[in-house]
Structure formats: C-alpha cells, structure tokens
C-alpha cells in the first residue's frame, strides 16, 4: 500500500501535466461534472454521517456529552479498547515484520501458503474469526475443560478480546511490508553483511530504515482497526458492562438502550480517532512520498 501511496502522491504532478496540454484536455463540463459527482457522493456518504455523529453527540449539550464519556462503564470500555490495541498492535508489529522478513528474504517450502494465510483474517467474516476462538477456548470448546480446571478465562474475558483483535488485525503490517521489501530486494542487506554487519545490525541499520514509512503506515491502519473492531470482538466478549465491553460494543449497547446522546458521544470518540488516524496517515504518506521520490531514479 505504501507503493500505492507514492503513486497517489505523484498523481498530482501528472494530472497537472495532463491538464495543461490542449491535446489531452477534456472539455470543462466533463471535468466539473466528474468533480460534482464525486464531491456530492463524498458529502452524502462520508461527510454527512461524520457530521451527524458529532451533532447527535452534542444534541443534549456539553454536560451530557462529558457525563456520557466519564461514566464508569464508558471509561472501562475506553480502557479495554486501549489495552487490546496496546497488546495487539505491538504483537502484530513483531509478527508482521518477521513474516514479511521471512517471505521476502528467504526461500522456503510453504511460502505461498504463508502468504495466503496472512490474508485469511481479511477474507473471513469477523464473526467467524470470533467463533473460532469460542470453539477453541469456550466452555464447550477443545481447551475449554482444561482452561476451566486451571481457572483461566479466555472467552467472555479480556484474553479472548485481545486474541480476536490480534487475529483480525494481523494482516495490516505484513501486507504493507511484503511488497515494499520485495521491491527493495536483498542487495543492500547483502552489501551490509559483506561489510561485516551482524544480523541484527543489518536489520536495524539497513532493513528497518528502508521500510520505516511503510511500517508506520501499517501500524496506523492496524491500530485503527484494533480499536474499531466490532464483529469478532462482539462474539467473544459476552458484553459484560464495565468488564468486557470495548468502545464499539459499548456504543451498540447504549444505542440499543435508546441512550442516543451517550451512544453518539462514545461514537464521536471513535470518529475522532479515525480523523486523527487520517491526519497521521496523510503525514506518513507525504514522508513516504518524499523518500521514495528520492529513490525512484535508481
């Protein structure tokens, strides 16, 4: 995706060139019609809901809004969401980097299988991902009896939520890094090794700096999904208020209880998170665009 990032970023110059030549210029009305269509679509489907979230959140005033967020259950939900993300993102950072490293720098049997497997969380419905864990760790599941004997709770508890989050967000970092590292090849690493660098030195001084923007981009997307995940988490959570509710689940509960203002207040936090993610993502894209611009003429 970082490749796409750089491409998107470069599209600006290209479209300007395209536009400035009479031979390739479309009639003005085509241009404005296209802009109008995409803008109104954007306004109706993306901007309107976003505005609605904040309008609804503040409908009953600032105090209700603050109260909805400071309510113990809401705070517990925020805490749980942050905990899940804080565990899932670093884990997937490590998994993603090692998987990408293994796939791009080594040749081994089952490599294609691994690549396909990485995509599994994307291709399978989140509900199914949740159910898998219930089947494995639930009371009637494979390890259920053993776990309950040892007094370990996975399903309807925090570990289950973390597991489901890790599963669902696994592909982001790896998917981001694999094409990037593939495009960069092994030569720089080989050069480092010939110059006497050890494995971790090569990784730290050569590999990592080369993929840092792609990595950051993957982490941001991974984090956004980790905090926003609903389906898989919903299955394993059990919806115990103040205990196993994440923010998205908390929003649903409030909404089902007709506490619209409170529901939208918590939802606005998630929306805010999305906006912050977009801003950081945009910044990372620009940085990545800059650094890839410098290297394109290799």
């Amino acid at each position: 995706m970082a490749g796409a990032v750089a491409v998107l970023h470069g599209a600006g110059d290209q479209s300007a060139r395209f536009e400035s030549k009479a031979a390739t210029r479309e009639p003005t009305w085509v241009k404005w019609a296209l802009i109008a269509v995409s803008m109104s679509f954007f306004a109706f489907f993306l901007l309107l809901p976003l505005v609605a979230v904040f309008v609804e959140a503040f409908r009953k005033g600032w105090d209700t809004y603050i109260n909805a967020l400071l309510e113990p259950d809401a705070l517990a939900a925020v805490r749980l969401t942050l905990t899940a993300a804080l565990i899932a993102v670093p884990l997937n950072l490590v998994f993603g980097v090692s998987a990408a490293w293994a796939i791009t720098k080594f040749d081994f049997r089952g490599k294609h299988f691994l690549i396909t497997l990485i995509d599994l969380p994307f291709s399978v419905s989140p509900v199914v991902s949740g159910l898998i864990y219930v089947l494995v760790f639930g009371a009637q599941g494979w390890f259920g009896p053993w776990l309950s004997d040892h007094d370990v709770r996975v399903i309807f508890a925090v570990p289950g939520i973390v597991l489901a989050t890790v599963f669902v967000t696994f592909p982001f970092v790896a998917r981001e890094l694999i094409p990037l590292m593939e495009a960069q090849g092994k030569e720089e690493e080989e050069a480092a090794v010939v110059l006497g660098a050890r494995g971790w030195q090569t990784f730290w001084h050569v590999t990592l700096p080369n993929v840092k923007w792609g990595l950051l981009y993957g982490v941001i997307l991974c984090n956004a999904r980790a905090m926003g995940e609903f389906g898989a988490v919903s299955v394993v959570s059990g919806h115990i208020r103040g205990m196993t509710n994440t923010m998205p689940l908390h929003v649903e509960i409030l909404y089902n209880e007709y506490q619209f203002a409170a529901a939208f207040a918590v939802a606005s936090l998630l929306a805010l998170l999305a906006l912050v993610t977009l801003v950081i993502k945009g910044w990372v894209e620009r940085q990545a665009g800059k650094s890839s611009f410098g290297n394109d003429d290799e």
Binding site: E187, E188, E190, A191, A192, V193, V194, L195, G196, A197, R198, Q201, H205, V206, P209, N210, S291, G294, N295, D297, E298
Partner: protein, 369 residues
Amino acid sequence: MSIQVNNIRKQFGSFTALQDVSLDFPTGELVALLGPSGCGKTTLLRIIAGLESADSGQVLLEGQDASDTHVRERQVGFVFQHYALFRHMTVFDNVAFGMRMKPRATRPSEKAIKAKVLELLKLVQLDWVADRFPSQLSGGQRQRIALARALAVEPRVLLLDEPFGALDAKVRKELRRWLRRLHDELHITSIFVTHDQEEALEVADRVVLMDHGKVEQVGTPEEVYRHPASPFVYSFLGSVNLFHGRVEGEAVHVGEDRLAPGKVDLAHGSEVFAFARPHEIDIVVDGSEAGGVAAKISRILAFGVTARVELDGLNGSTGEVFEVEITRAEVARLGLEEGQAVRLVPSRLRVFERNAAASGASQAPNWVI
C-alpha cells in the same frame, strides 16, 4: 591474497550454473570473468564472496578452506552491479558503515573513521559529496562510492559484479580506465565479472572465459584474443567469420570451395568449423583464382578508417553472411561494388573439429592463471 577454487559445482533447480570449475587467482592481479549472460560468472563470484554456497567444491582463501567461513569474516570487498548503496544514509555514512559495524573491541574511534572515510573519498575523487545522499549522485559517482565503501573495511580481495553494467557507454569507458589506475595503485587482488569483451580485454591482467558453467580459456588479453582455445572463445571475442567445412587432405572444403589453412592435423573427412577475423580475409576479384569461398557483395560500408564489406555466401556457403575489413584504398583499387561476385581467401584460418566443440571438453582442467 590468493584465491583458489576447486571443483566448484552449483545447480539452481535443473539449471547447472557451474560444473566443476577450478581456478587459481594469484595475488595482486586484476582478473576478469568474462562470458555471456547465464554462463555462471556471477554465481562463481558470489560463491567466492560467500553470498552463495557451492553444492560441492572448495574455495581457498590464502590456501585456507573458506567454505565454513561466514561472509562477514571473509574480508572481501564486494561491489554490486546496481551499487546497493544504503539509500537512507549519506555518502559519508555509507563509506563509514563497515568500520562502524565492527565489534567494539576492534572498532576504530569516530575520529579515525572520519579520517579514513575522507581518505577513501579522496581516492575515488569524490570528497566533495560526503554529505549527499546516493539518490543525488550520478550512476558513475554511485559506483565509485560503492567501491570506496567496499575498500573501507580493508578487504583482502575485491570482487566486482558487472561494476559498469548499469552505466552509459561514455561513463563506462572513463570508469574502466579509472579502475585500472586504481588497481595499479592498490595492487589488491581483484576479480571482476563482465559480459563486455572489450571491457575485459582492456582492463584485466588476465581473462577467464566462461560458457555454460565451464571455464573455456584463461590467459592474458593478448593470448585469448590472438589464440582462442575454442570456437566459443573465438566467436565471443570480436567479430568473426565462420565457415562450416570438411577436412580433405591438406585443405578444408566448404561445399565445392576450398580453403587452404596452411596445415591441418585433423583426420581426413572430419567436420570442422573454420574461423577468420574480418581483417584476416582478402577479397579476390580475379576470376582465375580457384581457392577461397565464393560470395557476393551485399553492402560496402566505407565511412570509417577501414571499409567494411558485407557479403552473402554462394555455392557451398549459401545462407552464410561474411564480413571483411579492408582499407578504403583497397576497395577503390579492386573496384568493388555491391552485387559483385568475388572470392574470399583467408590469410589466417583457425580450424576446430566440430564434434569436439559440440561435446565440449569432458575433463575439467585446473586452470592456472
């Protein structure tokens, strides 16, 4: 440092990259591994460096078996075709990298590193780009930085993989001369891989010709050019005219035409390849000449110092194309024109038996350079 490779074999799937290669590289020489793409030359270089491992055989560095020595302990400098500079580091940091990666005990001080880097950058005449990034340099400059970086760890041997392959013709020629001068200054044992015969002949002390994973010939540029050991070497080094013929008595017959190579010690009736360089053929217009091969002039290119005459074979060599180089004065004297039928009489002819060439030398001699 001397390098010796013994009976190296390497297989990639069903493709044999190297079959039983044995070579001796003496200390202090600049040797070219020359051959067409896919001949195994780069693989051999990477095996010597330790970036690739041989299926069987040994690499001896200074007489010691290096098969189990890790790349980073082999003390080789490696220069990649596409430079492989660290793109996120400045030129200075690139060159300093090898020294900075050393274990603390043997690592020079930052001050010593700085002095060494600047010395190396001066050596490659690029001390003014220390603060730039690789992307801000031209291809030729990048390759010189790559060389400086390789030299920074004081390698015992320098290996260059098609070092000028990605550069344009003019820069290439400059760098070629520059590399030769640099080698004359440093006298570090160097091996460079190239598919460009001109490059190999011009730069190297010795040339190793390779084809299909085997060494075809080893010698000084003069030797391999003047006395090619096989049809492959003959046709790979410079342009060449090829005659398919058969030995009959003292002569080589091409269809009903007859070439007299002087002396052929091959059995009567053996099928042969006969080679002659374009400047080793005379064009005879006199109709009474019976020797040589009949051909028809198809084009005369007379724009250089010498004129190049292209001919289509007639009679026994129909379908063959020949090329002859003669002076422009000669063209005028003979009154050559396009479409004219003439005879080609080689003044020097190299004859190889066809079967021997086809089956290849089955034994793998230990080539001493």
